[in-house]
């Protein structure tokens, strides 16, 4: 156990959810006779859930500042609908329609941000209002009829990376390139970290632990590269997945390594103390809300792209999926706690569960029930851990 601990770099508790996710994938793969871990299934899994995960990115920040945004589904639906109508009826080029949708998202977020940050109305109420306003808006402007979206948008929601280069690689070369970049980036950061570790902490990690870690993570990336890259000709790592990946990196960096990110956690942890430390609390609220709606617009675009049409019911109850992902990922209802990566694990947990149960032919009714139990179990587990001050099950098994 100590060896594993050293390889993973300390706190095993952080990995409980990851372990659960891996187990879940493994179990489903066995039950479904290997239909879980196939190229096409993982391509679908990612493309079909990218929009929820994108919402969860924004929702994490909103929940960390101690607020909640109930309007995201409606805003996503509204932005998507405006985009489709603008392209179809105003004949805007597709890229202009996309920019318009993003602008709508920003405006909707500024609206919520204004009420929260400037007038001090709680986010729950502000966005409950927004949820109704924008849901009504979608139905109004669409006259309750779905509007087909420009063909180009399909690329965002259901597209694949281009095929190029030599055939002998046996896979989609864009995906291969992505995998190589991923591994290289990981190796470089690990080595850099290793070199610095001695200077900063005074104790160098054992080189074998670093090596094993690189090998482990590298293998995982390599496996997924292979999985995504060797699907049917013309398929690859899906475009919505790539968009999600880029957003994850961006938002991980923002939350962990920028002043704004720190401010978000400070405001969520103790907003009075944050104010006395020079944090502009209302500005932090404003930006977090605005960002959420911007991401809602992105989610709306991805979904419309995948659906090939914007519908009047788009986005219904998406906020609940996003919120569930954040809480399964270990965020606290009272704010101040939660990370982007944990949230993504939480979201993937839901997605894999959904997908696996479907592959097994379990109906939407029972799937819903199971997801509800998983949400409760995950959060209860988290609360239990915190309350008792004990480590996770993993750390209990560690050798003394």
């Amino acid at each position: 156990m100590k060896v594993i601990k050293q390889i993973l770099g300390g706190d095993l508790k952080r990995y409980t959810m990851v372990v659960a996710l891996v187990l879940l994938i493994g179990i489903f793969n066995i039950i479904s006779d290997g239909r879980m871990l196939t190229s096409s299934n993982f391509q679908n899994l990612l493309a079909g859930n990218a929009y929820v995960l994108v919402l969860a990115l924004g929702m994490l920040m909103v929940i960390v500042i101690g607020q909640i945004d109930l309007s995201v589904g409606s805003v996503a639906g509204f932005s998507g609908m405006v985009m489709a109508i603008a392209a179809r009826e105003l004949n805007l080029p597709w890229w202009a329609a996309v920019l318009l949708a993003l602008a709508i998202g920003l405006a909707a977020g500024a609206w919520h941000g204004f009420f929260l940050a400037k007038l001090g109305i709680p986010g729950f109420i502000t966005t409950l209002g927004g949820m109704m306003i924008f849901r009504g808006g979608v139905i109004w402007i669409s006259k309750s009829i779905s509007v087909p979206a420009p063909e180009e948008l399909k690329w965002f929601g259901a597209g694949y990376l281009p095929e190029w280069g030599p055939k002998f690689t046996g896979m989609n070369n864009s995906t291969l390139l992505l995998g190589i970049i991923g591994i290289a980036a990981y190796v470089v950061t690990q080595i850099r970290k290793y070199k610095k570790s001695a200077d900063v902490t005074g104790t160098a990690e054992p080189i074998w632990a670093v090596g094993a870690r690189i090998f482990l993570v590298g293998s995982v990336i390599a496996y997924f590269t292979w999985l995504f890259g060797t699907g049917r000709e013309g398929t690859s790592f899906p475009v919505p997945g790539l968009i999600l990946l880029i957003l994850i990196i961006v938002y991980h960096t923002i939350t962990q390594k920028t002043k704004f990110g720190r401010n978000v956690y400070a405001v969520g942890g103790n907003k009075n103390a944050a104010a006395l430390s020079g944090v502009n609390v209302s500005r932090t609220y404003f930006i977090a809300m605005m960002n959420m709606s911007l991401l809602a617009a992105v989610a709306g675009i991805l979904f419309v792209g995948r659906s090939t049409a914007a519908g009047p019911a788009d986005g219904t109850s998406w906020e609940m999926d996003a919120i569930a992902s954040v809480f399964i990922g270990g965020a606290a209802v009272s704010g101040g706690v939660g990370t982007i990566l944990e949230t993504m694990v939480g979201g993937l947990m839901m997605a894999v569960l959904n997908n696996g149960l479907m592959l097994m032919g379990v109906g939407a009714d029972r799937t819903q029930v199971i997801k509800g139990f998983v949400l409760l179990a995950a959060v209860a587990f988290d609360v239990y851990n915190k309350k008792s001050g004990r480590g996770s099950f993993m750390s209990k098994t560690k050798t003394k």
Partner: protein
């Protein structure tokens, strides 16, 4: 210090990766799902066919060109339904299950709880499970474009069930009741009922439409208005509220509660000093909501049309509270669908049909079935072969 060792590690990692990558070999063959392998042949032929079809814009050609490539008995058939919240969908689920199993297929039947993303993912999981044919009763006929094309790319036949699949090339045919025809029948039943129950005109009536996201709903309304409009024009019928546009009359999501709320406000707003004689209702749930609303408002029950022959409405028709309903016998629809599946299995392609509809991308073959009006007078006769409904007529 450890530069050499680090470089060595880096090398090892890259090697490991390329080793993993290398073991995959070629692409199609390497796809781990056995189902995908078998389809390789079908896949290519259909892909070509699809392209040809969309280029040339030929109607109904796709399926026929692909004919000849049948599939084995005992193949997996996917059935994706919007939800199980109304009787006809629940019946469809049961019948598909029984009849597909009886015909030797392995059915995967899933309902999506009225959530579009859920239905998209369910269809994907059917593709993943190696279905040969996927029958789709869409929640929103326009929003399944990319997944259906994915099914097409995987060489799977896609049959629309009960509702048109729009905005996609990934559909081979649609089995449904003629929706314009249904509307005409509803309106005609309303007129007959008015004459029979309320005596000579003129009559005060109100109009209700279905859920706008359902492509059938505007067609029902269109069909009904083709019968009613001339009589409204000549004054035999008066729509007291003046609401005669589909968007004004529509009931979002086919939600009974919304219909009842609208009826409540119509009655309080326009009928405080008038009697209401008839209401055009697009389905049974909404019809019952309307009747309840009228009863609550103290109005004499108007003549109300319906659709679906739900159990409760069959009882109401029998007891005279609801004048008529239209049976779209689910068994006929399911039987027609299974006929098509059998034809595909035997390598005969999609059966021929004269009717097509433009779904925005292509002309889709439509297999239309005639609906049947049910009133108290003919109920016994219509349900002669339906013991469970016959039971209600007592």
């Amino acid at each position: 210090m450890n530069r050499k060792r680090i470089t060595a590690l880096l090398g090892a990692a890259v090697l490991a990766m390329s080793a993993l990558a290398g073991c995959g070999g070629g692409r199609e063959g390497s796809a781990p799902a056995p189902a995908a392998k078998e389809e390789a042949a079908v896949e290519e032929s259909t892909e070509v066919a699809t392209e040809d079809a969309s280029d040339a814009g030929e109607a109904t050609a796709t399926a026929e060109e692909a004919s000849g490539a049948g599939f084995e008995e005992g193949a997996t058939i996917g059935v994706s339904l919007p939800w199980l919240g109304t009787q006809n969908w629940k019946e469809a689920e049961t019948m598909f299950k029984e009849q597909l199993e009886a015909a030797g297929y392995v059915p995967i039947i899933q309902a999506a709880d009225q959530k579009v993303p859920q239905q998209q993912q369910q269809i994907e999981s059917m593709i993943e499970n190696g279905a040969k044919v996927i029958v789709v009763g869409p929640i929103d006929g326009t929003q399944l474009g990319s997944v259906l094309e994915q099914a097409k790319d995987a060489g799977i036949y896609v049959i629309g069930y009960d509702r048109l699949l729009e905005n996609t090339s990934g559909v081979d045919g649609v089995v449904q009741f003629g929706s314009v025809k249904t509307g005409e029948l509803q309106a005609q039943a309303l007129l007959d009922g008015l004459k029979e129950v309320k005596g000579e005109g003129p009559y005060n009536i109100e109009l209700f439409g279905g859920g706008p996201a359902d492509p059938n709903a505007p067609n029902f309304f269109k069909g009904a208005m083709s019968v009613l409009q001339p009589l409204i024009d000549d004054g035999t019928l008066t729509v007291v509220s003046g609401q005669t546009d589909f968007t004004q009359c529509a009931t979002v999501d086919w939600d009974n509660a919304k219909a009842q709320a609208r009826m409540d406000s119509l009655l309080s707003g326009f009928y405080s000093d008038k009697d209401i004689h008839g209401v055009l209702s697009p389905n049974d749930g909404i019809a019952r909501a309307i009747i309840t609303s009228c009863e609550n408002a103290g109005q004499e029950i108007p003549v109300v049309s319906g659709l679906d022959a739900e159990n409760e409405s069959v009882e109401w028709v029998w007891s005279g509270r609801q004048y008529s309903t239209v049976a779209k016998p689910t068994d006929a629809l399911v039987a027609q669908t299974i006929d098509i599946i059998n034809s595909l299995r035997d390598g005969n392609g999609m059966p021929a049909t004269d009717v097509t509809a433009d779904n925005g991308v292509k002309e889709v073959a439509i297999y239309e079935l005639p609906p049947v009006v049910v009133t108290k007078a003919n109920a016994k006769e219509v349900f002669a072969n339906d013991p469970s409904r016959l039971e209600l007529l007592k």
